[in-house]
Symmetry: C3
Subunit: 355 residues, 3 copies
């Protein structure tokens, strides 16, 4: 279940070159390309003549040419050329979607183009901040996007899913973690501290951290599909939890854009930025590799979860206290979708909600 009236990450800016990109976002197959001015266009990926995909076609002077009979559509979806006739039927229009490009990300508004609200684009200035060099990646995942959001909203899974990457410390460290959860206007955020904890394998591999540290995990989920994370560790001597400086420690900023493709598959875009030097290529490569390894561990468990839940859609599940942040954002999401349904039943999302 996903709201339509919001922005979803559709691709990285640098994925749009001289060839169109076909990708399904929030259930809608899109062809993405740059128009004549370099602005991103997003159209339904289907020609109105014989129904084929446009994305295997060519970009011709900023418009997209159908690969079958050469019809050309501009960035607004209007057919501007039919090779075999001068008359262009008024119905020769493909649906267009609002697209924006900001901080190396291309966003698409899944609802009506005229209702696109730029103020709702999630800012991510770290991509343009030279002090935070970053690497990025992508995973295609066979589960509903909510399952991956859930995963991050309950970090008590770390010692079980990630013992060799970011789990680290004793299970006890994780259980005794200090957790502060807050509702926000657009979702939920929390700060989680593991005090006096052993540095996890990833921190040792990337930054050489050893011995006891205070670890923080700050996550902000902006419904429907973005999580902004700031996480790291610093020597216990700094007493960072009580306001001491984190600067001498190891800190990373992770963007998670977890975007529904269909009800049971999603796109996982991520970037990881390193705030404290050195930023030599080997270290950045190690950071990317460790982040990817960590996310792949999440993917394994969430794909299994999807498979089991699809098999037994009526299973009764039991919520625990560690589900607090998850339940908060889910309530927000349900309310959002319900509001869309009430205000515009015909265009409303209709797909089932993952539990």
């Amino acid at each position: 279940m996903f709201p339509k009236n919001d922005w979803y990450m559709a691709c990285w800016s640098d994925e749009l070159t001289d060839r169109p990109l076909g990708r399904t976002i929030a259930g809608e197959p899109l062809v993405l390309f740059r128009d004549g001015s370099g602005k991103v266009a997003a159209l339904r990926d289907q020609c109105i003549h014989r129904g084929v995909s446009l994305s295997p076609g060519r970009i011709v002077r900023g418009s997209i040419e159908c690969p079958y009979h050469g019809l050309v559509y501009d960035g607004t979806g209007r057919c501007v050329h039919i090779p075999t006739q001068d008359h262009i039927p008024t119905k020769a229009v493909v649906r267009s979607f609002a697209a924006r490009e900001q901080h190396a990300i291309v966003w698409v508004w899944a609802g009506k183009v005229e209702e696109a609200d730029d103020s709702k684009i999630v800012p991510y200035p770290w991509h343009d901040d030279a002090r935070w060099p970053y690497r990025k990646g992508y995973l295609h995942v066979r589960c509903g996007y909510e399952m991956l959001l859930d995963n991050i909203m309950d970090l008590t899974h770390l010692p079980y899913v990630h013992p060799h990457t970011i789990g680290g410390g004793s299970e006890d460290d994780h259980i005794k973690a200090v957790m502060k959860t807050e509702r926000t206007d657009r979702g939920v955020k929390f700060a989680r501290w593991l005090l006096d904890s052993v540095a996890p394998p990833m921190y040792t591999k990337v930054a050489g951290l050893k011995g006891k540290i205070d670890r923080w995990q700050e996550e902000e989920l902006i419904v429907p599909s973005v999580i902004v994370q700031f996480t790291g560790g610093v020597d216990v001597a700094q007493d960072a939890y009580h306001g001491g400086s984190r600067e001498s420690g190891f800190g990373i900023r992770v963007l998670h854009a977890i975007v529904p493709e269909t009800d049971v598959t999603c796109h996982y875009f991520f970037s990881v930025a390193l705030g404290s030097g050195p930023h030599d290529p080997a270290m950045m490569e190690a950071l990317l590799k460790q982040t990817l390894a960590t996310l792949q561990e999440d993917v394994v468990i969430c794909e299994d979860q999807q498979s089991r839940m699809s098999q037994f859609p009526d299973t009764t599940l039991v919520d625990l206290r560690s589900d607090e942040a998850r339940l908060l954002y889910r309530r927000h999401l349900v309310a959002r979708v319900a509001a869309e349904r009430a205000s515009d039943p015909e265009n409303a999302p209709t797909v089932a909600f993952q539990r």
Copy 2:
């Protein structure tokens, strides 16, 4: 959607050797084999005893033996031997289909065996004409057969789908093509001329044609599933369009038998015959290779089309003027199927029509 009361190509004559052939034609899984006299038999590919396929069985004295418990069926589908008992139950009959062999092609009548009408078999004497040596091939395609018929009925796709094979010339050559379309008793035919046009890559590769030529494309679609094509090019000096001789040019005859397997898959049988010498093996091989490459380009686009249309069955499409021949044959096809439904509702085709 396909009519039942007609002949469909089921295989090439030389596919029927000493082993049975299993193939689904017009939704019906068939086992094809030669009976004692060499005549082709076509039975439903399923034993009446335990329901297994007969096609993995052996041919025993012109009858087919079930690979499970050895029941034997003759070419009419009658069970003639049950190893474990003398009594043959009256119900021990598998459905048989009328089959005919002509010009290297095996045809099967998809309707009731007693209604098979030999006069409706599409003649293709070129397969038996020594002046027209040919090569043949087969492709299994994951789209409704109508999509491939559509493809040939609108050749304005050539410059977009086939730039490296038979597209050739400028897009303009194709757009200015002279087109004459005619309804026929059994479908539609058209002649399309590209005058004063650059020889396409295939013609250069196969026959060494260079410079400006007049190209002709004559296609006759005999509903439901056969297209007979005569195409080629000749030096502009001959003025072939106004009746001048095509003999000094390059001319090929292509048979397209595009046969429904299921609603969304089909068999593409084709042969290509070369009328003007030399017919050395290398040239024939080049011709087959180029033809295959061309058809595979069509297959890519039609499989994409099927996939998109299956995803969005309610898309509204827009017809163009170049769809004339397509619309004519579609109307014929719809009328044929409607007539079958009216006259014999129980046996009528029920599957959806591809748009």
Copy 3:
């Protein structure tokens, strides 16, 4: 279609080591593991918290730990540990199944745990009889389990399906086979004799048998899913059919546990034991290899059968006299399932019956 109130083989004893085993038995995904005392536990393979599979988790002191957030369940399915809270909700229980271990086999009762009836476990003492050393194997098969049971209940398929393994002799030998079928309390059994018959290839390869032998095939099917087989051959001079000794011959005992996974897939567990020496490893290996080859021939035909029957679920099939044993056990099976439905409609099997 399978009854729930019975034991199904779930795995071999030696499959349960220090790691849990996930396997779907009679439509139910199970996690199998040994509890602290070495006793086998069988739980529904799904955590009550977030719905993931338990089987990828660890065994911790005889209990199973969920791989996601570390919840721990004991062998009865009760949650005994939640890392993040002391309170264990009363609903934190996964369904458990009765499991028993006997003669190297782990059995699971597919019905309610409190109704498990130990007296119904099929004894197979040959696994613990030093005079009958055995080898065992497993095949995953894409057909309903009934199709493989049917296969063994009608051995007239031997000359057609197994000419190179156990078919042997002339088709006539098989047709003239003496057959005695009997209903039993729990299914059906039969003895089939091929008198004065040529030794089949398998017997020659494994035991060096040549020339004319009397062959016996004794099969007992215990509904729903076990067939106990004793089969072999002995020199005709012994007149074994009329009570002469079989000891100088070649005799094997085969256990077939053919267990539904889903309606259209099953597990085929088998063991083959050799009663007459020598039992050197090469001979045992040859026996296993030949048995496996034989069963794989059955698998090919039964998977084709499932595929055809799924395609044409309404085909009318015709029973033959050789179907006697098959029809007897099917009647028994239908009655069993009907009785379950009548006594406990809510928990009754609902899946369709294979014909």
